[in-house]
Amino acid sequence: MATSVVKLLGAQSSPYVNRVQIALNLKSIDYEFINENLAAKSDLLLKSNPIYKKVPVLIHADKPICESLFIVEYIDEVWTNSPSILPSDPYDRATARFWAAYIDIKWFPLFGELRQVKGEEAKAAVVEKIVEGLVLLEEAFVKCSKGEVYFGGESIGYVDIILGSYLGWVKAGEIMASVKLLDETKTPGLVGWAERVLLNDAAKDVVPEPQVLIEVLNKFMMASAKASSN
């Protein structure tokens, strides 16, 4: 089963796609990356993810798996070679899933707000919320890492992948809004973690540089503006 063909439908600028790439790399899985033009989605994508029509989609033995968090869990369950992505202890697994949900549902959407907010006061309010979230994640890092260098301990794990995949966009957000979000005085653990997580073999060259992402965003905004003015 684990030897069947693996394909990943994705776009390099998507942090959700990046997480799957990191997971596949971590498990040394050979796969075909099918680049999707998100402005002109392929038939394969529309057929594989008819409900959301989004990337990433993992196709394994011709079966499509959607939703990045579940793709990562699927990879961990099917490829049981080391390293494990989720911890082995059920309570640690629950903790990892809790933080993944918090990061995806409560924390990262603040970046969308940051981009759209108007006025200095409103912007400062969103920045404060983002930093408050990072302080919570700092505490989580200290607890989960148990003295080691990653949320997953000695090697990168689930939360490292989930949060790490956003780092390109976090840095892009800092540049675009001219703010510092990861601050050594408030979140020293996370600052150190952020520097080392993307240097890990599995994550190297996966998450694009912030300037690349800013360009992607600008292109998207221009295309949207053009579309809505036509």
Partner: protein, 225 residues
């Protein structure tokens, strides 16, 4: 066996997901009813990030977020499995659980809607969502989990009981044998399972609670407009 406690709220469908899972697995637990207008110190300590119920406390260690709790219960008490063994099927189950949670806002919009364009739009959206659920998630199976209940059924449980009252309050019946026959049949099958039937909030009490909450939400909406 380490002590199991559940902090919940009698009217919450999220609370009931955890109750159903624990009971289906025969796990003994202490239930602590929380007053959401006056949350206990324990709850605030156990779930400082969200300050919400349900929170499961096992051997003194708290787990928050109902979907996280359900996966934890499944792993710690593997008897009477509620998730499929096959990795692909598990990924599909998790997909549907997330799908219905994401659509929660749309259902919430329907719940507090008043007659007019907004309500028509919400009703149409709900119908589309439920058609997808019926065709793609349920299909011809008796339960979402197959022949037996699973976590998807448990996560959709609010459709079987709470949504019935929502439709009554809004005055629009969306799930009917003519419009959504398979889903309608599932509701009956689900509610007939003894452990589910015996663990549902009292209908009359729930209707009053949902009616009051709805009136408050509508009043609040009118104040803002």
């Amino acid at each position: 066996m380490e002590e199991v406690k559940l902090h919940g709220f009698w009217a919450s469908p999220f609370s009931h997901r955890v109750i159903w899972s624990l009971k289906l697995k025969g796990v003994n637990y202490d239930y602590i009813e929380e007053d959401l207008s006056n949350k206990s110190q324990a709850l605030l300590q156990y779930n400082p990030v969200h300050k919400k119920i349900p929170v499961l406390v096992h051997g003194g260690k708290p787990i928050a977020e109902s979907s996280v709790i359900l996966e934890y219960i499944e792993e710690v008490w593997p008897e009477n499995p509620l998730l499929p063994k096959d990795a692909y099927e598990r990924a599909m189950a998790r997909f549907w659980i997330k799908f219905v949670e994401e659509k929660g806002l749309t259902f919430y919009g329907f719940y507090k809607s008043t007659p007019g364009e907004e309500q028509e739009k919400a009703t149409k959206e709900i119908m589309e969502i439920l058609k997808v659920v019926e065709e793609k998630a349920l299909g011809d199976k008796k339960f979402f989990g197959g022949d037996k209940l699973g976590l998807v059924d448990i996560s959709f449980g609010w459709l079987a009981h709470w949504f019935q009252f929502t439709q009554k309050l809004v005055g629009i019946q969306v799930i009917e044998p003519t419009t959504l026959p398979k889903l309608h049949a599932w509701i009956n099958n689900f509610k007939q399972i003894p452990l589910i039937k015996e663990n549902l909030p009292d209908g009359e009490k729930l209707l009053v609670h949902l009616k009051n909450l709805r009136e408050w939400l509508i009043a609040e909406k009118n104040l803002k407009s």
